[in-house]
Amino acid sequence: MAQTVTQTNNVPVKPTQETASSPWRDAWKTLRRNKMALVGFAIILFFILVAVLAPWIAPYAYDEGSLTDRNLAPSAEHWFGTDYNGRDVFSRIVYGAQISLWVGFFSVVGSIIAGTFLGLIAGYYGRWTDTLISRVFDIMLAFPSILLAIAIVAILGPSLQNALMAIAIINIPTYGRLVRAKVLSLKEEEFIMAARAIGMKDSRILLHHILPNSLAPIIVTGTLGIASAIIEAAALGFLGLGAQPPEPEWGKMLADSRQYIQKAPWTVIFPGLSIMLTVLGFNLVGDGLRDALDPRMKN
């Protein structure tokens, strides 16, 4: 992309109407007009800021509490109250944003990289490579994904790192199939045949022609995927297979507090609300991106 920009600048551009409208720039324009997507952006940005600035925002340490202050209701001192260990819920949620965004982002990046690589190879080379990769994907998709994640964590041992890895692994087939399908349709396009006709190597065709043209659905699915990865991480945390105490993972906080739901509902409500809001933010942006990147939505 950077190269295109510099080239555009070199050319004596007629000032009137000669601004190149690249497909990506068009998509950005469409996205900016979408109010719900902007709301989603705002939510994500908010949580990113919270995560980055956690040490300055959080009034207390996330792993320190006094047993005399157990299950206190929200007050000026403890905005979201305290949990069964007397720890400040607000501080824990602020630090938990770091964990959730980190897990969501990196697990999706991991599955996208692996899935895209496998999907490109399967789709472009076909034959036995395709059969092999596709069947492995089918087998993985035959398991309920959370069950597979539990199995992987059980093998690797329960920890946040391993939960992230498990979430990345179970989502590889989603991206792999998506990319493979896109490659299969792109491969038949005339501009790919034209690329072969001018004597382009396979690697260049894949990286310069097929990959950029399959990026749109990957971005959309990836954005929505962050939301489900956050939920999956919370679920693993809830089952005790993800974050280990005293790490303030939102799912884990929910799980630990559920026996106090009658006595101290705030210990459940606020982590739940945080998960819901983050997921909502990513889903809104994902939907907006889908509309912006879909050529059929152009008017």
Binding site: V13, P23, I198, G199
Partner: protein, 323 residues
């Protein structure tokens, strides 16, 4: 005597039909079935025929964009079908193609500059400055301007895009260009512009064309010689005047009689063919045209007619001329 630039002999492309649970090959679609012809340097050879007769497959097999099943493609004396992947890649500098659909043949995410620069980049020709100069030059050659280079394909009309496609084919200074229905997707007024451009380029750069089309008048306008294809085979090939004035093969006669005549008062003797185009998966025995031929004889059922010279380089594959 001008030498042959391209000689195609016994070119075949069969597609397997698989069936059953095990994916066994149960039949073959004979898209191109034993096609032979040669093209002289600087000449334009037209290939006409109905949709599905194998014109495009022939063109693409010559460039090995589709791997031919059998046969030889000699380009400047070298058998293209025997080249390794890397040798073929380098060979592509000399043989190019212009595609039918100018909307599908340009990468929608690349600027025109990038599209035209890429062939040079891929073959390591020139530095950044020289490549830029070449792109500007090419755009002028095909009737666009250098300021178009920063635009994307979707910002152009169909005719303009086809000019970009032509410019891309010219980038590497090829000797042979396969024109795969280059004007079929364009308006009539734009068609003539593109045809004239192709003729100018041929004169200026000494190009050789294999021109594939289904429009008889277009082929007549641009070609020196014309081959007529039916069901994967060439049934007749002659200089354009001989073919259009005195067609020999019954299929060519029927095809020409169906071409629209601009004179509304002209009396037309149309030969209406009976029946449908047979399936190329199960072509008729002997002469493939016998099922629809008005002049069918007994021998047509049993023997495939040879592709023979009926005098003055007028080749025809028909038993009527096989005395």
């Amino acid at each position: 005597m001008v030498e042959d630039l391209l000689t195609v002999t016994h070119l075949k492309k069969y597609y397997p039909i698989t069936g059953g649970v095990l994916g066994k090959v149960v039949g073959q679609v004979k898209a191109v079935d034993d096609v032979s012809f040669s093209v002289k340097k600087g000449e334009t050879l037209g290939l006409v025929g109905e949709s599905g007769c194998g014109k495009s497959t022939t063109g693409r097999s010559i460039l090995r964009l589709i791997e031919p099943t059998e046969g030889q493609v000699l380009f400047e004396g070298k058998d293209v079908t025997k080249l390794s992947k890397e040798e073929m890649r380098l060979m592509r500098r000399d043989m190019q193609i212009i595609f039918q659909d100018p909307f599908a043949s340009l990468n929608p995410r690349h600027t025109v500059r990038k599209i035209l620069e890429e062939p040079l980049l891929v073959h390591g020709i020139g530095d950044k400055k020289e490549r830029e100069k070449r792109v500007d030059e090419l755009l002028e050659v095909v009737g666009l301007s250098s300021y178009h280079a920063s635009r994307f394909p979707h910002q152009f009309s169909g005719g303009q895009r086809q000019r970009i496609g032509i410019a891309r084919a010219l980038t590497l200074n090829p000797k042979l260009i396969i024109c795969d229905e280059p004007v079929s997707a364009l308006d009539v007024s734009v068609q003539s512009q593109i045809l004239n451009l192709l003729q100018d380029l041929q004169r200026d750069f000494g190009l050789t064309y294999v021109f594939i089309a289904h429009d008889l008048s277009v082929v007549r306008h641009i070609s020196d010689r014309v081959g007529v294809m039916y069901l994967g085979r060439i049934v007749e090939m002659a200089s354009k005047d001989a073919l259009y004035e005195k067609p020999l093969h019954p299929y060519t006669q029927a095809l020409l009689s169906a071409a629209p005549n601009p004179d509304p008062d002209a009396k037309r003797d149309r030969i209406i063919l009976q029946g449908d185009l047979p399936s190329p998966a199960n072509p008729p025995s002997g002469c493939t045209f016998r099922t629809r031929c008005p002049l069918v004889k007994d021998i047509c059922m049993s023997a495939r007619p040879e592709f023979k010279d009926a005098g003055n380089g007028h080749f025809v594959a028909c038993h009527l001329y096989n005395e």
